[in-house]
């Protein structure tokens, strides 16, 4: 067996790491707004952030392709900043992975933030802590365990996006070919051995992230309850 091209692995890890970072930062903001702010259109925002969970990847991919194409305002803005188009680059794969994992994160993070006893929050505010300080010093640490487990889940999920990635970033070996796209490519070209190897790789990688996170979360959970 010739040497296996490991580029899809490195690309997938890089994409997943960046997508997770974006998911955690923006997802926490969305989750906080949804769980703490009362405003008109809150339910609409909730529905919009949930939409990617239920739409077929093709619909989502096509929508993003139109939204981010070189002729769209967003695509043009991106191009004016970075000097190159977004679609069919590995950056587009990050966007795809983000859209794949962020809705899940927002939903679960909102529940985690809701779970923090409001009295801790009230106590902090009445002691003079601003909303931001209360969030950073009280809410975040108290929800921290679930949020870290959740981030691991999102990382694993980011590794696995296929539909949106192939529509938005395409399948350019050595450029935009992530692990899941490479598996599709291997199967298409009849390379069963490679497909099997990459499949095991993806599964092992996801497990390597999920298992420790789950163990850690449940152990800390038990200690907290005791």
């Amino acid at each position: 067996m010739s040497t296996v091209d490991l580029f899809p692995l490195w690309l997938s890890l890089r994409v997943a790491a960046l997508a997770t970072l974006a998911t955690v930062v923006s997802g926490l903001a969305f989750a906080y707004i949804l769980s703490h702010k009362e405003f008109r259109g809150r339910n609409l925002l909730d529905s919009i952030t949930t939409l990617p969970l239920v739409l077929p990847p093709t619909v989502l991919g096509y929508f993003l392709l139109v939204m981010l194409s070189r002729r769209s305002p967003l695509g043009a803005l991106y191009e004016s900043i970075t000097g190159g188009p977004l679609v069919f680059t590995w950056h587009a794969a990050v966007v795809a992975a983000y859209v794949h994992s962020a809705p899940l994160f927002i939903k679960a993070a909102r529940a985690a933030l809701d779970d923090v006893d409001y009295r801790f929050e009230w106590a902090a505010r009445s002691l003079g802590a601003s909303e931001l300080r209360t969030f950073l010093r009280v809410i975040l640490p108290l929800a921290g365990r679930s949020l870290i487990a959740l981030s691991a889940l999102c990382f694993a999920r980011s590794l696995g996006d296929f539909g949106v990635t192939i529509m938005l970033a395409g399948n350019i070996p050595g450029k935009t070919q992530t692990l899941s796209v490479a598996i599709y490519d291997a199967v298409e070209s009849g390379n069963g051995g490679l497909a099997r190897l990459l499949t095991i790789l993806v599964a092992a990688l996801a497990l390597a992230v999920l298992w420790p996170a789950s163990r850690w979360a449940s152990r800390r959970g038990v200690r907290q309850a005791a």
Partner: protein, 370 residues
């Protein structure tokens, strides 16, 4: 007193009826002085909601909240100061100490958040508070490693560390045993002495009001039914319903048999056949001879008179219905909400008598209209 009270709050907040609960309207005017003000009433009366409006956790629809001449809320001009700038030290029922911080970190969080002093002063103040509330040896512990009493002390110390302008307490001793209650009262008095700030306390326990409060507001169904210095309010509740819910009085249907403004006395005759008698009371301003209403007697002030010292006046000859043991000796039951406690030795003297003489001090008597 010149000027407005330290806390002057007019609050109106409505909750429409839902499937589980009827509509609720909180509508009251709270004027609290520099001492301890108790909001007393049954659960669901709106006491905690009042506290939350003061602290900024609930927003009234109408009204105005002034604390020490600082406007916290005004519906008319749309002023609503956020909770972190109201400087209300809020002590929660379960203390709400941050579980991920040590005792010292809890206090430091409060002092750093409030930013009322320089860094050096804050550090010194925290140490002072830890010493004062006997937490110096526990400063590195997390809340789950503290006993109930230690948590209490830490919660008070934390509230003080933020240099509050008002101290708000939400049923701080609910579910605590006698010993912990007493120690809480002691530390709270200590805190109050050190703090030049009004205290507003929510409670449903009349005894607790006597321990701590100077002024009491009786709150029922979102309204203030009566307010005033604690001794006055408890001396004569404003209505039969209030007297019933306070649970400290014996109420008997009665009429006014005599009024003597010259000697500042009255005579009230009961209209209940089982509890027949006449007692003297204070002169009843605004009532007429023959008015019907309720004789209201502060239960703890009645005595069963033993043969040795019979008081001729102001006694009722009554048939005991039941005798049970009580923490203070024996409890003799004469009717619904009408029982008199006496020592075992006194009871031994009257045991077996068909009728007992119950002495009703005139100062314990009031008359409530129907």
């Amino acid at each position: 007193m010149a000027g407005p009270a330290p806390i002057d709050a007019r609050i109106k907040k409505t909750y429409p009826a839902t499937r589980d609960s009827p509509a609720f309207v909180l509508d009251l005017h709270l004027e609290a002085g520099d001492g301890v003000t108790a909001l007393l009433g049954p659960s669901g009366a709106g006491k905690t909601l009042t506290l939350n409006c003061l602290a900024g956790f609930a927003k009234p629809e109408e009204g105005r909240i002034l604390v020490r001449d600082e406007l916290y809320f005004d519906a008319a001009t749309k002023v609503n100061v956020p909770p972190d700038r109201r400087r209300c030290g809020y002590i929660f029922q379960d203390h709400a100490l941050f579980p991920h911080m040590t005792v010292r970190q809890n206090l430091r969080f409060a002092a750093d958040s409030a930013r009322r002093r320089s860094k050096m002063q804050r550090r010194r103040r925290i140490q002072e508070l830890l010493d004062e509330f006997e937490l110096a040896d526990l400063d590195a512990r997390r809340p789950h490693e503290l006993s109930g009493g230690q948590k209490q002390r830490a919660a008070i110390a934390r509230a003080l560390a933020s240099d509050p302008k008002v101290l708000l307490l939400d049923e701080p001793t609910r579910g605590l045993d006698y010993r912990l209650r007493q120690s809480f009262y002691e530390y709270l008095r200590k805190a109050k002495a050190a703090l030049d700030a009004p205290v507003v306390m929510v409670t449903h326990d009349a005894e607790e009001c006597f321990e701590l409060a100077d002024v009491v507001f009786l709150i029922e169904e979102g309204k203030c039914r009566q307010s005033g210095p604690i001794a006055e309010v408890f001396k004569a509740p404003a209505s039969v319903d209030l007297a019933r819910s306070l649970g400290l009085y014996t109420l008997i249907e009665a009429e006014i048999a005599a009024l003597d403004p010259g000697r500042d006395t009255s005579r009230i005759r009961t209209l209940n056949r089982e509890l027949e008698g006449e007692v003297d009371g204070p002169y009843l301003r605004g009532h007429l001879l023959g008015d019907r209403g309720w004789l209201c007697i502060r239960r703890h002030e009645m005595r069963v008179v033993t043969a040795n010292h019979r008081e001729a006046r102001n006694a009722m000859r009554l048939k005991p219905l039941a005798v049970t043991r009580s923490p203070r000796g024996m409890r003799v039951q004469f009717g619904r909400d009408f029982n008199v406690e006496m020592s075992e030795a006194d009871y031994a003297e009257v045991r077996g008598e068909r009728d007992l003489t119950v002495y009703v001090p005139p100062t314990a008597v009031s008359f409530l209209p129907l």
